[in-house]
């Protein structure tokens, strides 16, 4: 968890109108990143935008790692314009990581939109570092429409089981990915099932509700406004289930939480 003041960009690929994938080179960072971790990127040397931007890791190999993001505002807009050879100041690895499943469990990954990247990294890691078989991993990928196909394509290269849903039905199952989850989870022995999810808040609420009802063990990866990313500002908190007045810092105690630990 240290500051890397000058990490070179080796590729910035435009995947769609607003989706981008940036590959960075940093041995230090790449060797320390675990699924669930995030990096905090300084997108401008000037004072506006002021905050760093948090990004989960999409993939990590040898001395490079990549993030996959949607350009939604000024920070991600600046990031999307960076080019090969530019360098950026990055803090990381930050945050905790997903608890590993047991070897004999089936893993369901439920991703919505830009929730895909951290779960892709987790799937990669399970295959390469935990000896998981592709058949043990089911990736449910929810996108809004065919415009976001690059998100599901970003997972398809993995040799795992995968289903895609889209809100408008232009790709795969028509409906929310949580609906897909209901039917896809049915065949499994709940005791041997592990679920990991990341995506927009309404989706997380739905997915964690299903898990609670069915008794599926579930971890969520949360997002939150992060001024510091390193636990000092107390800005990024989420309410804990420990009590009304209990908060956890997403950047330190998270971003990954057991779904019953937090009030999303």
């Amino acid at each position: 968890m240290i500051q890397h003041p000058s990490v070179p960009i080796i590729k910035n690929e435009k995947l769609s109108k607003d989706l981008f994938k940036i590959v960075f080179r940093s041995k230090d960072l790449a060797s320390g990143l675990r699924p669930g971790n995030f990096v905090h990127i300084r997108v401008s040397p000037e004072m506006d935008p002021l905050f760093r931007r948090a990004m989960s890791i999409y993939s990590c190999e040898n001395d490079t790692f990549s993030v996959l993001f949607r350009a939604i505002g000024k920070g991600t807009g600046l990031l999307s314009k960076m080019r090969e050879g530019d360098t950026v100041d990055i803090l990381g690895p930050l945050g905790n990581s997903f608890d590993p499943p047991d070897k004999d469990e089936t893993v369901i990954l439920v991703a919505g939109g830009t929730g895909v990247p951290p779960l892709h990294f987790l799937a990669q890691w399970l295959l390469s570092n935990y000896g998981f078989d592709g058949q043990q991993i089911l990736f449910l990928c929810g996108i809004s429409s065919a415009d976001d196909l690059p998100l599901s394509e970003a997972v398809e290269h993995l040799d795992i089981r995968m289903r895609t849903s889209s809100d408008d039905g232009s790709v795969g199952f028509k409906g929310y990915v949580s609906e897909l989850l209901k039917t896809e989870a049915l065949p499994y022995d709940i005791k041997k099932l592990r679920l990991y999810t990341c995506g927009p808040v309404p989706m997380l609420r739905e997915v964690t509700k299903i898990c609670a009802e069915q008794g599926i063990r579930c971890q969520v990866s949360l997002e939150g406004h992060m001024p510091c990313g390193i636990g000092t500002c107390l800005g990024c908190v989420v309410q804990s289930t420990r009590g009304e007045d209990e908060f956890d810092r997403i950047c330190m105690e998270g971003p990954v939480f057991d779904s019953n630990e937090v009030l999303i």
Partner: protein, 305 residues
Amino acid sequence: MSKFDLTVEIGGVKFRNPIMTASGTFGYGEEFNEYIDLSKLGGIVTKSVTLNPRPGHKPPRTCETAGGMLNAIGLANVGVDRFITEKIPFLQTLDTNVVVNVAGFSIEEYVTVIDKLNDCDGIAMLEINISCPNVGADGLEFSGSPESAHKLTSELQKISRFPLIIKLSPNVTDIASIAKACEDAGADALSMINTLVGMGVNHNTFEPLLTNVTGGLSGPAIKPVALACVHKVYRSVKIPIIGIGGIMDHFDVAQFIIAGAAAVQFGTANFINPSCTVDAVDGLKNYLRDIDIQCIKELTGKLKV
């Protein structure tokens, strides 16, 4: 390099250099221990500690603004008792001045907290937050008038074993009159500025950007206001001033010192660049060489007006 003298003295306490961290932006130093060598700093100021533990406001507690940020953390802290048992031991291991920031909602609360801290070792000074804008009645009970600031300061000065820095709010008509009242009441030093009252609105949802509605504005955006406050107070009091507000690098440090500060605190900058303070210590040495001044003390108030 060692021929440049960065030391400053505030309230009888010697600081290695004029660079400290600001309350609420550096935790209790633990997190930053990983990023920087704390012994390079003049001092660190802890998050405001109150009598009782405070969970803080519900999120969202922060948002970004042009050149700055709003926060309404709500004085979240573990309370003085846990502060003493859980945080002081780590702070005592540090080779830098530890300034403990104290906040309260009544004179009695401040007094009780200080009474407890009086028994602790490893504290160099106390900084009294009389101005947090996020809590009840505009938080201006003590910082809003010379009389109330005078009363609080003199009560605390009576009982504190440590020298007192009074931290002032910029949300007043005449900060100099309040500064003067604190000096008259025996304050050892003044620090300024705390955050400006601000607010953000989400034009899509019609909700405030902070659950608490208003919050405190900090960061580079407020630097001009902070400089003006320091300069105005410098012309009104004799006790040392610690400049705070939008300081990002050693040039900003120099500007505050030239305007009248004896030392400075980095707040929001720690979030943007965790090594900003130690970088500034190094930068300040080079700067002194460039302007051909030996002692940083000589620079205070050198503004050509």
